[in-house]
């Protein structure tokens, strides 16, 4: 099992550009998540999905969009990049056997800089 994979590892964008961060998991997990990590701020949930075709907003969704067409893939889209979106982005997944919360498996992250 590769677990959770993310591409690219690094990216520099100009203000106003768009891009898609890719996330794939091979563990057949229903739940998937996108977080951003800013220095000294912990992780903030951007969007999450409870299964194919179902997504919902997290704590900081503005400026992002997601889709979930398959169980395996959960891409994150930035339409008009802004310097405030400079961050490290993590994708995660979980089995959700326990409605109270299961272990989340994290990808290695994408470091995004917007100049």
């Amino acid at each position: 099992n590769a677990g959770v994979t993310q591409t690219p590892k690094f990216r520099i964008l100009k203000i106003g550009q768009s891009m898609t961060l890719q996330c794939t998991q091979d563990m057949n997990h229903n739940y998937m998540y996108w977080y951003r990590q800013d220095p000294g701020m912990g992780l903030k949930l951007i969007y999450y999905s409870v299964g194919a075709g179902i997504t919902d907003k997290g704590e900081v969704p503005n400026g992002y969009n997601v889709s979930r067409s398959t169980t395996e893939d959960f891409p994150l889209r930035l339409e008009l990049a802004a310097p405030s979106q400079t961050s490290v982005y993590f994708c995660a997944s979980s089995r959700d056997r326990d409605r109270r919360g299961d272990e989340q498996f994290f990808g290695p992250g994408t470091r995004l800089t917007v100049l």
């Binding site: 959770v4 949930l45 999450y48 409870v50 704590e59 995660a92 326990d98 109270r100």
Partner: protein, 115 residues
């Protein structure tokens, strides 16, 4: 509002000494609490979780955490620290929805174990 707090940005401990990384919580109802560890340039890894029951939870790599309801704390502990334990540690709990599927993370504590 649901929240977890890590009052220490940095903890230094000598190898072989016991270590404690602190976490306090403000969660309504029964708290579901987690500890994750992040090594440099890696995603987060699950260490342990508290759901209900025994207040002392054992996890990976010899770590354990003590849930204390009267002090609203969930401190991470290890009897004898290793240099390889040096990493960034995050406490997490249910987000604003009250669901542990949507986690809120503390700001993180950098643990340095000195040889």
């Amino acid at each position: 509002a649901q929240s977890v707090a890590q009052p220490e940005d940095q903890v230094n401990v000598a190898e072989g000494n016991p270590l404690t990384v602190k976490c306090t919580y403000s969660v309504s109802g029964n708290p579901y609490l987690f500890w994750y560890v992040q090594y440099p340039n890696r995603g987060l890894q699950f260490l342990l979780k508290y759901i209900t029951g025994d207040n002392l939870v054992k996890g990976s790599y010899g770590f354990e955490a003590e849930f204390n309801k009267s002090q609203t704390s969930f401190h991470l502990k290890k009897p004898s620290a290793l240099v390889s334990d040096s990493a960034l540690y995050f406490c997490a709990g249910p987000g604003s929805s009250g669901s542990a599927r949507q986690l809120t993370f503390g700001s993180g504590t950098q643990l340095t174990v000195l040889p």
